[in-house]
Amino acid sequence: MGLLDTEFGKRRLLTVEVPAVEAYNRGRDPGFGITLNRVGGALVLSYQLKPCHNVYRLETRLLSSYPTVPPETRVLTPLKHCAHLLEGQTMCLWRQGSTRAASRWDPAQFTCVFAVQAAWRWLACYEVWHETGEWPLPEAK
């Protein structure tokens, strides 16, 4: 059952996610806005981020169990492998595989745009790590 196949999912998209994406895109330069596409049962956000001097292409996937299950964000631009990058260049953002109680993702508070912002911060950390070998933020407990 996909996000677009339930009344709850549709309502969430129309009242929460789409307005958040529209607000994010407002005034954004061409190529840096978020585009939404349906891929199977998932909704995929495609976008670019340029936290410093480099442009990265990304994809954030809202699975059918979203927002209970956090979105998954993958960097499409090839990266140097680091400890904070999971298989398929998926960013380690929300303790993937953890229980709902232990996850730092809060479906009541966050939208898919929050995941985009989290990806931005991850990439900013990556740019520092790329040159120094040190991740600038401490490991979450």
């Binding site: 340029k50 911060r121 520092v128 790329h130």
Partner: protein, 59 residues
């Protein structure tokens, strides 16, 4: 990808900003191309969507 690194000053400023964001919720501001432009203690409500507030991620 042809990686263009940060210079020393840029890197130091970014690290300070990232730690301020993680430790005390300092907002990170970005421009129309999502490039970092600075920090702010307070962000007007209508601009919150464009700023990186405290993002509770697992790294």
């Amino acid at each position: 990808m042809d990686f263009r690194p940060l210079n020393e000053v840029e890197r130091r400023q970014l690290v300070t900003a990232l730690r301020g964001n993680a430790d005390r919720g300092l907002s990170l501001l970005m421009d129309r191309q999502t490039t970092y432009t600075g920090t702010a203690e307070e962000v007007p409500d209508e601009e919150v969507i464009a700023a990186i507030k405290s993002v509770p991620c697992h790294y």
